[in-house]
Symmetry: C2
Subunit: 250 residues, 2 copies
DNA sequence: TTTTAAATTTCGATA
DNA sequence: TATCGAAGTTTAAAA
């Protein structure tokens, strides 16, 4: 049986089921009223309430309230989850080192428990990422500017990586920073950092921020600092085209 | 009953249970073999495998594989989740607008389903955040430098907010950027942006990045640009002290 | 292991 | 509603 379920397990049953799941590498889901403590990079406390607890075989531990995308408390994979009874209550504890941290869920009342012996060999395939936007630009530099030549992709500099190092029609060097989302001040900063560095050793250099859009403040910052904004919203690579065809077929 | 559980529901049962849960504002958890599509800011496809699906009453939808902290596919709250049968299979669909996106999980085999009528009025209380680090510095500016006076907290400038605007013992203005984690190049960028701006209208200004640590590259970037790094790892506010006492009592 | 930057980042605060 | 910056960010890639 792939999934085994218990309704309202008592603390001892919950702990023994949890231990068995951890031992066997199964996923564990618990619906419970609980309180939660976190101690690590910061510290925090969550008072009693109803939540879903999920423990994965890689040490991942999640505490989900009835709303919100993010777990209210969690532990990333790499550590381990354990179960024990304490003062007649079941306690789930997730720990890891580097950084050293712990999440402890004290279960005041368990409503349900599911053990799930899951098998999943699939990996997620994604299109429309920034990496694909890079590919598209590399193959079609003219969309940025007529006559632009890409000299180098992901060039390492003293202060970080430049997305593209290029030259315009007249041979002037162009530092290009690419974003697949609306450009932010931090993105402006990044470009400015690379351009400043280049200016230390060379006279003329252009800086170009490529993105589907930019806020007013970002456009002004670029203008004030002699940098350029190039709007690029649409891009299509072979990979993306292939995936889209597949999704349409579905 | 707070949590109701079904083992291996057929598609029709799953859909009707899911609809009822969505209608009543309950949390839904499903253990299933499924395939998943995402279409929105990017697009992607995840082939068949065993996952835990969670739907929350606020429209949050999560698809969790057996490993990893982050859901492989998800929808943040704000939209809605619906259920239907299609070609004799149960399908869960999460949608939202702004941005327009959708996640569709086609359930090939359901192993378990739990409806959870959860009530949770608690809010997470946290200590050790950057906001508390700000409080600590405001009350103890000497930890940054002997004789430093804080003039303004969160000062707005043309290109963003300065954490602290201060003056040193000799009256020279100091722009202070504070991070509670190891300083990154982006943090250096932020400080540099504020300092450059100030230099446009004033002659002398110091820039100070405060953090528990910084990488070699960040330290060099600061040095090369005449900015300063102040190491500050420990800080304690009344709030943090209070919470720590409580956790110790536990 | 450390660093660097992306992310379907999410989230909260602010204007 | 858009923007800005923090986050216990996590994750992946590269050195």
């Amino acid at each position: 049986m792939v999934a085994e379920k218990l309704t309202a397990p008592d603390p001892e049953t919950l702990v023994s089921e949890a231990k068995a799941a951890f031992r066997d590498g199964a996923m564990l889901t618990v619906q419970a009223r609980c309180e939660v403590e976190y101690e690590g990079r910061t510290s925090g406390y969550l008072g009693p309430g109803d939540r879903i607890l999920v423990a994965k075989p890689d040490g991942t531990f999640l505490v989900h309230q009835p709303t919100g995308h993010k777990p209210v408390n969690w532990m990333p994979g790499g550590g381990s989850v354990s179960a024990r009874t304490s003062e007649d209550e079941a306690v789930l504890l997730a720990r890891r080192t580097n950084p050293s941290e712990r999440v402890e869920a004290r279960i005041l009342e368990a409503y349900g428990l599911t053990r799930f012996d899951a098998t999943d060999g699939a990996t997620y395939e994604e299109s429309g990422t920034e990496a694909e936007m890079h590919e598209y630009i590399e193959e079609n530099p003219d969309v940025l500017e007529e006559g632009l030549r890409i000299v180098e992709h992901e060039r390492e500099s003293k202060y970080g990586f430049i997305d593209f190092f290029a030259r315009d029609e007249s041979g002037t060097p162009v530092v290009v920073e690419v974003k697949r989302i609306q450009a932010t001040l931090n993105h402006f900063d990044q470009l400015q950092r690379y351009v400043s560095l280049y200016e230390e050793t060379n006279d003329t250099v252009r800086g170009m921020l490529v993105a589907p859009s930019a806020s007013e403040r970002v456009e002004r910052a670029l203008r004030d600092n002699g940098l350029e904004f190039v709007e690029l919203a649409e891009f299509d690579t072979d990979a993306k085209g292939a995936t889209e065809a597949k999704l349409t077929d579905f």
